[in-house]
């Protein structure tokens, strides 16, 4: 299977034509053309894919990162390319609608021109439009769907389960879903999903005791008489990155051997197309694609990378395409395969940005969302403060939203320093936007929201930072967990991503003095993975801080000095700090 050079150039031309040609980076093309969503069908088997929507039912702002460093073999390769380098790599016109969707460039100005992204009513319209040309196309949900908003937390994920059934999801695999607890996951899978014919697949979740499959490893469907297998790959490190006690009887892991076994099984059962719906994260998917044979495409998520075209990965028996479809309902991936003589002969792929201004809301979905929100409207709409700054989270080391959270933790708790997890979800606010309770919950809505205040030695603080840093920058993707670096308040530091664990963090300074290994510091944090931790929910702590401040402005971003990555690394640009 391959896309020839001419097809690829044609596709780029289509992409480029949808934003008017511009010379200047700062000039914005303005409204995208009316044919923005005309995607001619190719071949006879189609997949629609969204992932990591993080329970965002309404349109939002979402800024892509300006720091997304690759390590090991991934330095400077997709998805570790940001900003103008990304535009150049994919031939996207600066200033166009796509440039806004795929990069952080001129974010505030571009956001005002192109409007909000995502929203299930708009996504539904796009899904239906694609399906109208592609009867039988399968809609894949890559997970991190039930968590990330106030309403999903307060309805115990029911709003998202119902919304996904209405959207027409056919197949799903999980990650954050597990943080509602094993019993709730099983209830949804065995009742809501079963009744609606939604398949929940995960080859890499087995019981702790006998290693039995907890869910179906894969499902077989048919399109135009062609048998298709979709194998599920849940986030492999769920019981490590999230609370173990919430899924005590399940074991996860990457399980290449299991994947190969189920690919072979699916082929033996007549599948002519075998794809994986994955929550591995893109670097793990790329490695898996090089080791497991017989997969036509891996539709990936977790790392929230909006990647315009698949990466073609060679392995012992052929080529596997690897995609990643961003986050926050901002994109819909459309993959068309032409299957001939029992195998995939060619493909066409588009990662379509979901611009809510360009897609009329689906009336039924709009009414459903309104009804879900009704009991909570007054709570959701409480304005806690107004921001004068752009508030965002995504980026390897820190974001302005996380800075607000660690500032709040330190001030309210009286701490010397604070840690906030390196989550990649969380929406963006433009200067002048009100910070409502709903927007705060976008950053904090989890089932283990307790805040903590702990006495830690300098040595312990360093150990924690080294540990998390290795989960991000271990040279072997199979040892990475896919989050970003823990956000650190109060302590300045230098980081060397390409070193080994224990050697990456240095020059730790607190209020102008070196952090001492044996001295004790008060450290605030939230989201403990251990069982039985008590503490005020983080949203209450931050809400109190915001109500007190009334206006957020001049947020001082604590970013580490980065060393050993080179001045010309395409994974970093416009960094608010120094790097070399």
């Amino acid at each position: 299977m391959h896309m020839n050079r001419r097809e690829f150039l044609q596709l780029l031309a289509v992409a480029a034509a949808s934003g008017m040609a511009l010379d200047s980076k700062s000039a914005l093309a303005g409204k995208a053309p009316a044919n923005f969503y005309d995607v001619p069908k190719h071949g006879n088997v189609s997949f629609l894919h969204f992932t990591d929507c993080h329970a965002q039912l309404l349109p939002v702002w979402f800024r892509e990162p300006n720091v997304n460093l690759g390590v090991g073999d991934a330095v400077g390769k997709v998805p570790h390319i940001v900003g103008e380098q990304l535009l150049k790599k994919y031939g996207i016109k600066p200033g166009s609608a796509e440039a806004h969707a795929f990069t952080y460039l001129d974010f505030t100005e571009a956001a005002r021109v192109y409007g909000k992204v995502g929203g299930f009513a708009h996504l539904k319209t796009l899904v239906d439009k694609m399906r109208a040309q592609r009867p039988g196309a399968l809609l894949l949900d890559g997970g991190d769907t039930w968590q990330g908003s106030a309403t999903s937390l307060w309805t115990n994920a029911q709003d998202m389960v119902d919304a996904c059934i209405k959207l027409g999801v056919n197949i799903m695999t999980p990650h954050w879903e597990s943080t509602f607890g094993a019993a709730r996951v099983l209830e949804i899978v065995n009742k809501d999903f079963k009744n609606a014919n939604v398949d929940f697949v995960a080859q890499n979740i087995v019981t702790n005791d006998f290693g039995d499959q907890v869910f179906k490893p894969y499902t077989i469907k048919e399109q135009n008489g062609i048998k298709i297998a979709v194998i599920g790959q849940a986030f492999p490190y769920t019981p490590i990155a999230n609370p173990r006690w919430m899924v005590p009887d399940w074991s996860f892991g990457i399980r290449d051997d299991g994947m190969q076994k189920w690919v072979n099984d699916a082929r033996a059962n007549g599948a002519q197309v075998v794809v994986v719906l994955s929550h591995n994260g893109m670097d793990v998917d790329l490695k898996m694609a090089s080791r497991v044979t017989g997969i036509d495409a891996i539709f990936g998520g977790h790392t929230h990378d909006g990647v315009p075209q698949p990466v073609q990965v060679k392995n012992a028996k052929g080529i596997t395409l690897v995609t990643n479809a961003g986050s926050n309902s901002k994109f819909l991936g459309v993959m068309d395969f032409d299957v001939k003589n029992g195998r995939v002969a060619s493909y066409k792929y588009r990662l379509l940005p979901v611009f809510s201004n360009l897609l009329p809301a689906d009336k039924d979905m709009e009414a459903f969302i309104k009804q879900v929100r009704a009991p909570f409207e007054s709570k959701l709409n409480e304005t806690l403060a107004v921001t004068d700054d752009l508030l965002y989270r995504r980026g390897n080391f820190n974001g302005t939203w996380d800075q607000v959270i660690v500032d709040a933790l330190m001030e309210v708790k009286g701490a010397d320093a604070a840690f906030s997890p390196g989550f990649r979800w969380g929406t963006t606010l433009l200067p002048g936007d009100p910070i409502t309770m709903e927007r705060l919950m976008d950053q904090t809505a989890i089932t283990y929201p307790q805040t903590t205040l702990t006495e830690m030695t300098g040595a312990t603080i360093k150990t924690i930072m080294e540990d998390v840093c290795d989960n991000l920058f271990n040279a072997d993707p199979y040892y990475q967990q896919g989050g970003d670096m823990v956000r650190v308040g109060g302590i300045e530091y230098t980081v060397a991503p390409n070193k080994k664990i224990g050697e990456r963090i240095s020059n730790m300074m607190l209020k102008g003095k070196p952090v001492e290994a044996n001295k004790t510091y008060k450290v605030a944090g939230w989201a403990p993975v251990g069982e039985g931790v008590s503490g005020e929910p983080v949203w209450d702590v931050v809400a109190a801080y915001l109500r007190d401040k009334k206006t957020i402005k001049g947020v001082k971003l604590n970013t580490p000095k980065i060393v050993g990555i080179g001045k010309n690394n395409p994974g970093i640009a416009d960094y608010d700090g120094s790097y070399s």
Binding site: F210, Y237, N242, R244, G253, D257, T463, I464, V468
Partner: protein
């Protein structure tokens, strides 16, 4: 596996857990075994443990495969499987290199038993899990890193 079989097996697990308890360090090997290799099991580093086992400079072998998680879900019970494809395998030992006493177990295989063991081990920190296989009087080895992490902060 059906639920009935699962419950029966769980009920019968009492006998089977002895070996696991030994491996996890819950039972002192002296309680379980009449004669045990004190020098090897009490050794504080890999070199001394191997010396105690009578092994010196084992050859790296690609015929030994170690199946263990890349990152442990729970350092207290890390599932490890070792398969030796070396003909005439008579023992398989497992060492967690950074444990206070690295030698976890030394499994003797007799009468043409398949070179395969499966157990759960306890690990205090990220380390290489090493298998040492004896076959035809010679020693062979392979290792795989298992990471033990604090957790949190994912995704």
């Amino acid at each position: 596996m059906n639920a009935l079989r699962r419950n029966v097996l769980k009920g019968a697990a009492g006998a089977g857990t002895v070996a696991v308890a030994v491996a996890a360090g819950l039972l002192k090997p002296t309680q379980a075994l009449a004669a045990w290799n004190k020098a090897a099991f009490e050794a504080k580093n890999v070199g001394d443990a191997m010396k105690g086992m009578g092994v010196s400079a084992p050859a790296d072998s690609k015929d030994i495969s170690i199946k263990a998680p890349d990152i442990a879900e729970n350092g207290a019970v890390v599932p490890v499987e070792v398969t030796s494809g070396i003909a005439g395998t008579t023992s398989i030992a497992i060492l967690a290199e950074k444990n206070a006493t690295p030698l976890i177990g030394d499994f003797k295989l007799t009468g043409g038993t398949e070179g395969f063991i499966s157990t759960r081990i306890k690990m205090g920190q990220t380390a290489l899990v090493r298998a040492v296989v004896t076959a035809g009087g010679k020693s062979y080895t392979a290792a795989k890193e298992v990471k033990v992490t604090i957790g949190g902060c994912g995704g």
